[in-house]
């Protein structure tokens, strides 16, 4: 925490960027509670996505450069446990980031109808899947800016394709299949369901697919570490 949270790339991409988007949508929606509720799932997902991916890019890449990661690889802790521990910080940071739009939502809109029993696990799974996706990208890069650049190739399309601020059904037909290949689509769908908006799929399907993505991305990351860092 003391090492990475205040590193410039994390501050700019992980904190300021989602804060700026959240502020932009708040201003755009004005006093219209319904309008705010429709974009709140997207704001939460955006905050989590950028928070986790920036944090992980900084933590893993800096540690690799400083060779401190090597010390972890030399310890008798199994690789999967090591990576789960490493990514848990980013997951927590992402969930903390989600509090910002939620608190603003409480202030400016009526969240009494929100199903928190569904929203909180959704935020957790979005944080986990975003973290593992970033981990996969971080393994391939050597510098923080490289990871951030690679991440942006994934993060920015997801803003438009995953139903964050307008429904997937509003996308051109040829783009809609791509949306269903992206894990964030399912997380945002659960949040829409929880906050009372339009949803694409039953929550059980969303949760299952999202969990499947988490497992798949984690396994791919471990395999990639074995190949690129230990091979």
């Amino acid at each position: 925490m003391q090492a990475y949270y205040l590193k410039p790339p994390n501050v700019s991409w992980g904190l300021l960027f989602p804060l700026a988007w959240t502020g932009m949508f708040l201003i755009r929606s004005g006093q219209d509670s319904h309008s705010l509720l429709s974009v709140l799932p997207g704001m939460i997902a955006l905050s989590v996505l950028f928070g986790t991916s920036s944090m992980l890019a900084v933590a893993v890449t800096f540690e690799k450069k400083a060779k401190a990661f090597e010390r972890l690889l030399l310890s008798p802790i199994p690789l999967y446990l090591l990576m789960l521990a490493k990514t848990s910080g980013a997951v927590l940071f992402g969930m903390f980031n989600a509090l910002v739009p939620v608190l603003l939502g409480f202030w400016f809109a009526d969240l009494s109808g929100t199903d928190w029993g569904m929203a909180v696990p959704a935020v957790l799974l979005i944080a986990v899947v975003s973290t593992f996706l970033s981990l996969l990208l971080a393994i391939l890069a050597t510098e923080v800016f490289e990871v951030q650049t690679l991440s942006n190739f994934v993060r920015f399309p997801m803003i438009f394709l995953c139903g964050l601020f307008f429904p997937v059904s509003a996308l051109p037909l040829f783009l809609q299949p791509i949306s269903f290949l992206l894990p964030l689509t399912y997380g945002v769908d659960i949040l829409h369901h929880a906050i009372g908006g339009e949803q694409l799929l039953p929550p059980a399907v969303d949760f299952s697919v999202l969990a499947g993505f988490c497992l798949l991305l984690f396994m791919l990351s471990l395999r990639s570490i074995n190949k690129h860092w230990i091979g």
């Binding site: 090492a3 400083a66 060779k67 690889l73 310890s75 008798p76 230990i230 091979g231």
Partner: protein, 328 residues
Amino acid sequence: MMNIMTGAAIRARGLEKRFGDVRAVQGVDIEVAAGELFGFLGPNGAGKTTAMTMLTGLSRPDAGSIEIGGIDCSKNPKAAQHLIGVVPDESNLYPELNGFENLCFSGALYGMRRDERRRKASELLELFGLGAAASRKFSGYSKGMKRRLVIAAAIMHNPPLLFLDEPTSGIDVESSRMIRSLLSDLHRNGVTIFMTTHFIDEAERLCDRIAFIVNGLIVRTDTVERLLQPVHGRYALNVSFSDAAKVPLMDLERAFPLLEFHMLPGGELRVESGEALKTGALVRFLEEAGAEVTEAKKRVLSLEDVFVEITGIGAGHMQKEKEGRGRR
């Protein structure tokens, strides 16, 4: 620190590692007995660090097998990591944490209890002369201090086997002395030590056995005593010339039949004998033959000469590496 290993601490057979077309390690066999201080000696790029990363589980060999403390690590590099401590050639601690925090973190990685690692961290900081810097960030340490702390971190969990990659390279004399003294103490207490170095004198001083590695191949492995036998009690004189082409080698061999003459890379003449050399007569002969002598230096033959003889790598080459790494 007791040695809990019996038999071979390290057994590696047929190790190979390729990076593209480059064969960094070629069919290397290593066997290190429990309690031994084993030196892996060779120039930069010889394959020392690559071999060590395979033995410590940081990289997978392309071929060959590895056993550490009797545990097969070929398929699972992590299987024996609880038995080893590793000191890499570059510092691998967290720059933002202080010395005490770094040591405690290292202890935690090996499952040490909180009170135990705090006590051990304090002990090791005092032992390594870092007590006053315990609460200073690692990034603020000098090179020598960093190296000492990295060694301290590697022995926090009392490993019976310690790997060190060029432990005294590029650091101040005081730190080097402290580290060598510590390694001797650890060795006396039964810790098995595997050390890579390109400092021949250091290997000669510390090691029980040494392997010479060049271009990824081990060219000789033996005890220091047996390696030194051919040069034990022999004397040498190194003579430099303004123009080495004028050295009358055949005339020298005829005039001084009891002496051995070798032209070294770089144009130096080395004269060897089992008795003390009479420099005056030799230099006069050379000057009269038209070879202008610029320097004549007497030496006692050492492991360095054995290394040059066996590997073909000039002493000057290793000296340049020593200087390049900033050894003082």
